[in-house]
């Protein structure tokens, strides 16, 4: 009973922690560029400012899909924290992205269509690796349950190549350079979320924080019962992602797909074969 309460509090706090992660990320990124950078609480300032804007929406379905995008990713994070099914988590996350894509296509703005299109392409790039990751975790562990994964031996020693494949697709997932075609600042000005404003953009903005929680929780799973190792992996991934984001330029979406299918996917697949025939 007590553990359920603690887990519920963790789920409720997930957006707050995600906001802090985003704030720290902006600070770290600024320091890497030799800038001062904003306050660590800056995402929350943005949050309150967006709540104060006048209500403007394109049409009600568009706004509804944006809010559902936020809710479904929160449910995905909740299932992840409660130790549910890994496949369910991955598909709930896919559902949330699909809702954003539908939102992007529901307006008449050409930039919104372009962003939704590119988001769909980036799903094509990263989703197979996530599925293969789940399958190889099943092959090693005999279960999709996250609670059993977190209680077992560290997965990193048994499937290091899958972890490398995950690291390769994380920039696509989090829309970071060099694979930020879906967001593409100043090129298509934010992608599928371009038509959202005010309190509805807030849902998208907060969903972005929850994305960080989702990704770093996936990375944390590789630590298994060794929580210290998991935390180390999370910190290492954080630094790797930001260093990569700052040091690389955006690539074409074709190059992104090619990289995903010819580098990341085979790496994950080789690891799956090794675990299956071991």
């Amino acid at each position: 009973m007590q553990s359920i309460i603690i887990l519920s509090i963790l789920v409720l706090l997930a957006p707050l922690v995600g906001g802090l992660v985003y704030g720290i990320e902006r600070k770290v990124k600024a320091r890497m560029q030799n800038r001062m950078g904003p306050n660590i609480l800056q995402p929350f300032y943005d949050f309150f400012k967006l709540a104060d804007k006048r209500l403007v929406m394109v049409h009600s379905t568009h706004a509804f899909l944006g809010v559902m995008h936020f809710i479904s990713i929160w449910v995905a994070v909740a299932v992840l924290i409660f130790g549910g099914d890994l496949i369910l988590v991955i598909f709930l996350h896919l559902l949330s992205t699909a809702l954003l894509i539908m939102g992007g296509f529901s307006t008449r703005s050409i930039f919104s269509h372009l962003g939704a299109n590119r988001t769909a392409i980036s799903i094509l790039a990263y989703e197979p690796v996530l599925i293969i990751m789940a399958v190889s975790i099943y092959a090693v562990n005999g279960s999709f349950q996250i609670s059993s994964i977190i209680g077992s031996e560290p997965l990193l020693y048994k499937m290091p190549l899958t972890f490398i494949a995950l690291l390769l697709i994380l920039p696509i997932k989090l829309k970071k350079s060099p694979f930020d075609v879906a967001e593409a600042h100043q090129e298509i000005a934010g992608g599928a979320e371009i038509e959202y404003s005010g309190i509805f953009f807030e849902a998208i903005y907060t969903a972005k924080w929850l994305d960080y929680i989702f990704v770093y929780a996936l990375v944390f799973l590789f630590g298994g019962s060794n929580y210290l190792l998991g935390a180390g992996l999370v910190v290492g991934t954080f630094i790797y992602l930001n260093a990569l984001d700052n040091s690389s330029a955006r690539v074409d979406y074709r190059q992104m797909l090619k990289f995903s299918y010819f580098v990341a996917l085979p790496v994950a697949f080789i690891n799956l074969l090794i675990t299956l025939f071991n």
Binding site: Q33, R54, H185
Partner: protein, 177 residues
């Protein structure tokens, strides 16, 4: 009480719009975002999306091609919003004033809150202008702000507001008469 108003000052998102200038002021605006001046430390982001921004930074004089776009971009920004004119071209028309393709200053079409002088305006001046604009932003209400209608008839009266003259239209009007 928890006031949302004070957070407007802490995260102003900028939309940068070039109405047809020579790119001098644009370079200075980008210099503000670069490591030397780093206005991101005040929470400012260059969003490039009118629907999510609070401050409209305009550079350059309004040309016949950009005036409808300028009004459209301004109308897409949700209130509260402020407009900052960067440089003398955006404020009055500058050296382009009176040319056949130039309409003049920005304030003929949309209400302007802060004028930043200079050709090109220095990054320090832009930051100063934006800080003044933030003070205005905090006072503003969420009422819809209307643009000034595009004039069909040339405005020829000179009541101290020389800037309201629609010179190209005036020329054609005079030749037609």
């Amino acid at each position: 009480m928890f006031e949302l108003k004070k957070f407007r000052k802490k995260s102003p998102w900028i939309l940068h719009f070039n109405a047809g200038g020579c790119n001098g002021c644009d370079i200075e605006i980008l210099a503000c975002l670069a490591p030397k001046y780093d206005i991101e430390r005040f929470g400012m982001i260059n969003t490039g999306n009118p629907k999510q921004s609070d401050i409209l930074l305009i550079t350059g004089p309004v040309t016949k091609r950009t005036r409808e776009r300028l009004v459209e971009v301004y109308n897409q920004m949700p209130e509260p919003k402020v407009v900052v004119c960067c440089g003398s071209c955006a404020s009055t028309g500058g050296i382009f004033r009176g040319m056949y393709n130039i309409e003049g200053g920005v304030d003929q079409f949309i209400p302007v809150d802060v004028y930043v002088a200079g050709c090109a305006c220095r990054p320090e001046q832009i930051i100063d202008g934006v800080v003044v604009a933030l003070g205005i932003l905090e006072e503003k209400t969420k009422e819809i702000e209307k643009t000034i209608k595009l004039a069909n008839k040339p405005v020829v009266e000179e009541d101290g507001q020389v800037n309201r003259r629609n010179m190209p239209a005036e020329l054609t009007y005079e030749t037609a008469v």
